[in-house]
């Protein structure tokens, strides 16, 4: 059987250090945590989208022989915990006290001896509701007669959350007024859900003697959560230990703090026992962080010969019942203002209006890089709409309008400064892999035969690695991340990081970063994460920020160690430091390569029995907190080939070509794996996934029978390519890639679907392009018959 020989010391295709435990079923996910005396919690949820609670009777539940506690919003009021702050400066009910505001909202929490008994007891709680009219359609949320959802906030008389804009409206209006061609298109980026395979959960263990709370929980941001628990619960921060064990996928779903986590903590405090709470799949889909839900009107202006001049958009953002989106404070619409995309424009303007509806809270989740999915979808659809209007090839139109390599750093019309790029090379590579011209010839032949073959092209620019603390914070916490590196006397190392893997392979790639810098073998470096008592502070993993931020911190810490090691090596070699040269893993005397010290020898020296240089402390440790000077801007060119069944409207993705540029790849195997996953997500969003509601606010997508995710049969073998354009400001030039494919692929698939249907006069199809919706579009209808 193969072992781990011949693996690179540094960057390269290194097998993952995580895998040996996972393939043996020896991972430790939250639901695998079992403590002596542990009790089990379950949440009672609202069956209605909008209703006043007139009474809650828990007597029968309390009398259940296995029930240890029943907690309601009224109980939490006494602890000042009925409401908790959200990550967007709003408040959210932990357990409802006055009204329920979405179907699935948390109403009561039962703690029992086992998970079945806890569920049984939920049935014994009697809640009386007075139904209220719900707000389901975000477009009607600001109507004068719309029911006011957030009457908990004093003085609130409407469902308006925010108005936000970017770009120069007057400049954009002038460009549009003078343009040869202006086309517009309404489009919906529907509500979806990241649906990681592991649902959310926690095990809370409060020690009344020491006053210490240990919380195993599904979190992508253990440190930020600890700080917020300290603020929410009034517990001293040093008495809270948040442990994120193995996390079964996150994709943004595990960024927020959910009421169930808080209830498990309260349950443990009340009962004096550890309390486990793990939601079921319906709870996950109906109540936790949804994604997208942007209703967009896009406009694009161009000259007759295809020079794109400007893009405008107005958006209604459906934020659900509580504004609980997790995004930098100054960016209520996330980074949506990168909707200018990859093009050199004269003007751009966007305005976003956020509204409350009677739906689950959330909003920024699901590998979106803070709303860049929506932004890229908008601009990439608009470019295709323009191409159709002008009768130009969509690939040619993009190539004509790309920002040129010599224009970087490029300041977009909405203020972003793109760090580096070579878009044309990347796009042409994707077209080459696809055999684009041959595909167009094939398409023409098939169209002659009445077949519906579509070729989609898309190009994206992302903005990831949030971010510079001057501009970016979440709940007041600057978006920096740390790394602490310790080299043991024998030259083995431990790296402690503030970010949190959910499958990204940090235990491998972060060891590779240190290995590349210091020449220590990857397997000699342990990476510790997911435990706030053991790791430095930082904001966690989402928005493709681990490598851009904490990865930079790891490299900086390693370079500090190399600098110190050089001085120690010089002492050991009785040479001047400036006479030493570095080859990976070893200092040697210039001109006398035999005279040298390996990093391992230096590590022993750093702890050894001889005098270090004057003023130097022993040991070989370093730490760094990285404050990015700018975001990084990965990009990619994608091509998708679909076949649409003319009889049913079923879309089959035949091929998908993705050429990504994320700068240097620390572990190409892992990067490719992340791209595969993101492309699959994109196909799912484009064709299958939607969290839908009926007119009463009932969630119609509360299980995997109704919320369709791609299986192995819906996706093709992915065809990948790469270009490498380093970030000029990042210590290792890396840009972050986790969300690129999720951002870039949905417009590519929809562009392909629309291209397939274009002979029928179709210019746009909303996501998900289900058979019914595609078939309706083929009949000239916007939507399938009800």
């Amino acid at each position: 059987m193969a072992t781990v020989e011949n693996q690179p010391v540094g960057y390269g295709r290194h097998r993952r250090k995580e895998d040996p435990r996972f393939v043996r079923g020896k991972g430790t996910y939250v639901d695998d945590v079992s403590l002596p005396g542990m009790l089990h919690g379950a949440v009672l949820r609202s069956p209605l989208a909008h209703a006043r609670i007139t009474s809650i009777d828990v007597t029968a539940a309390q009398q259940h022989p296995k029930v240890r506690a029943v907690i309601t919003g009224k109980d939490l009021e006494g602890l000042k915990l009925a409401w908790m702050p959200t990550l967007s400066g709003d408040v959210q009910a932990v357990l409802a006290t006055d009204k329920v505001r979405f179907q699935g909202q948390e109403v009561a929490f039962v703690v029992a001896d086992d998970r079945y008994a806890a569920r049984d007891a939920l049935e014994l709680i009697d809640v009386e509701y007075e139904p209220l009219d719900p707000v389901v359609d975000a477009r009607r949320a600001l109507d004068a007669d719309a029911p006011v959802i957030r009457d908990d906030v004093e003085g609130r008389a409407d469902n308006h959350i925010f108005d936000w804009e970017a770009g120069d409206r007057a400049e954009a209006d002038a460009v549009f007024a003078n343009a040869d061609v202006v086309v517009s298109q309404d489009m919906v980026y529907p509500r979806s859900h990241p649906a990681p395979m592991e649902t959310c959960g926690s095990v809370a263990d409060y020690d009344a003697v020491s006053g210490k709370l240990t919380l195993w929980t599904t979190t992508q941001a253990p440190h930020a959560h600890r700080t917020l628990y300290a603020i929410v619960a009034g517990l001293p921060e040093h008495k809270i230990r948040v442990i994120a064990p193995d996390i079964g996928g996150g994709f943004g779903n595990k960024v927020p703090i959910y009421p169930g986590y808080v209830c498990s903590v309260v349950g443990s405090i009340v009962t004096g026992k550890p309390v486990k709470w793990v939601e079921d799949r319906s709870e996950n889909l109906m109540s936790t962080g949804f994604a997208r839900d942007y209703l967009m009107h896009g406009e694009i202006a161009a000259t007759r010969d295809g020079r794109i001049l400007g893009v405008r958009t107005q958006v209604i953002a459906d934020h659900g019942a509580f504004n609980a989106t997790a995004q930098p404070t100054k960016f209520p619409a996330g980074f949506f203002s990168v909707f200018t995309g990859s093009y050199d424009l004269e003007a751009a303007h966007c305005s976003v209006t956020g509204v409350y509806t009677n739906k689950a809270p959330g909003g920024v989740a699901y590998a979106c890089s803070f709303r860049i999915t929506e932004a890229v979808y908008l601009v990439e659809r608009m470019v295709d709409v323009l191409a159709a209007e002008l009768g130009k090839d969509p690939a040619e139109l993009r190539l004509q309008n790309f920002i040129k390599p010599e224009q970087f750093p490029y300041e977009a019309k909405t203020g972003w400064v793109y760090d580096s790029g070579d878009y044309e090379t990347t796009m042409r590579k994707a077209l080459d892999i696809a055999g684009y011209e041959e595909l167009r010839r094939e398409q023409a032949e098939r169209r002659e035969r009445g077949e519906l073959m579509g070729i989609g092209v898309a190009f994206f620019t992302e903005a990831v690695g949030a971010g510079p603390r001057k501009h970016m914070d979440i709940a007041g916490l600057g978006m920096n991340d740390g790394a602490e590196l310790r080299i043991h006397p024998t030259g083995k190392a431990v790296l402690r990081i503030s970010v949190q893997t959910q499958g990204q392979g940090h235990e491998t790639t972060f060891a590779q970063i240190v290995a590349e810098e210091l020449g220590i073998p990857v397997d000699d470096i342990d990476v510790v994460h997911g435990d706030t008592d053991q790791t430095p502070f930082g904001l966690g993993t989402y928005g493709s920020r681990s490598t851009p931020v904490s990865g930079a911190a790891a490299a900086v810490a390693a370079r500090k160690i190399r600098d110190k090691a050089k001085l120690i090596a010089a002492t050991m070699l009785e040479a001047a430091p400036e006479d030493l040269e570095w080859e990976k893993g070893r200092f040697f005397v210039r001109g006398d390569p035999e005279q040298g010290k390996t990093i391992q020898e230096v590590a022993l020296g750093a702890h050894g029995a001889f005098d270090l240089p004057d003023g130097m402390e022993g040991s070989l440790d370093a730490e760094a907190v990285y404050n990015p000077p700018n975001l990084t801007f990965p990009f990619g060119g994608y091509v998708c080939v679909v076949d649409v069944d003319p009889g049913t409207g079923q879309v089959k993705v035949r091929r998908f070509i993705a050429v990504d540029d994320c700068g240097p790849r620390i572990n190409p195997m892992i990067v490719e794996g992340q791209i595969h996953g993101g492309l699959t997500d994109g196909v799912g969003m484009a064709l299958m996934q939607q969290i839908a509601f009926d007119e009463d606010g009932n969630c119609l997508s509360g299980s995997f029978m109704d919320y369709l995710l791609p299986s192995s049969l819906e996706v093709p073998d992915w065809e990948l390519g790469e270009t490498v354009t380093p970030s000029p400001h990042h210590p290792i030039g890396a840009k972050g890639v986790g969300e690129s494919a999720t951002v870039g692929s949905p417009p590519c698939v929809i562009n392909a679907v629309v291209d397939a249907l274009s002979p029928l006069g179709v210019r746009h199809v909303d996501m998900p392009a289900s058979p019914a919706r595609v078939w309706a579009a083929m009949q000239g209808r916007a939507e399938p018959p009800a």
Partner: protein, 161 residues
């Protein structure tokens, strides 16, 4: 009620509630937490185990229904310190990321290879189509199972080709 079954070759007898699901029996009663739970509705397949060598979704099998049968979980794949080729294939071909769906995928793969030692890519995709992975986009899972097909179990095993 009492249930008697074989789990990973060991005879097991337990007093259980009749409604207890097999996935919870394995995880909570036997501490075999390698089998995961993901959806309640038989859609995601992270709970797949083998019952008499057939893949079943243990979230929709009662523990009582497993009485008299032989159940195999991910914990049984490694033998005498040697990984099953399926396990090694998932490592070699990067067939996993978060690892949550992996035990179910590997058990299905084991069952597939036991009956079809050299499956085509299409046959592999069909075999795992009742299971969801949110991380890998399936391509490397397919490659992992192909890798395992190319490195069959030694004949000494009870299921090898």
């Amino acid at each position: 009620m009492q249930v008697n079954l074989t789990v990973n070759g060991d005879e097991v007898t337990r007093e259980i509630e009749p409604r207890l699901l097999l996935v919870h029996f394995l995880r909570d009663e036997l501490g075999l937490t390698g089998t995961h739970w993901g959806c309640d509705t038989s859609n995601c397949g992270t709970c797949v185990v083998l019952m008499d060598d057939e893949p079943v979704k243990s979230c929709t099998v009662l523990a009582a229904m497993a009485g008299g049968h032989a159940v195999r979980t991910v914990e049984s794949l490694e033998r005498d310190g040697t990984l099953d080729p399926v396990q090694q294939g998932f490592i070699e071909e990067h067939g996993l990321q978060c690892g949550f769906c992996t035990p179910g995928m590997m058990m299905t793969a084991r069952a597939l290879l036991d009956t079809n030692p050299n499956p085509s890519e299409a046959e592999i995709r069909e075999a795992i189509s009742g299971q969801i992975c949110r991380c890998t986009g399936y391509q490397n899972i397919v490659k992992a199972i192909r890798w395992a097909a190319g490195h069959p179990l030694e004949p000494a095993g009870d299921t090898g080709s």
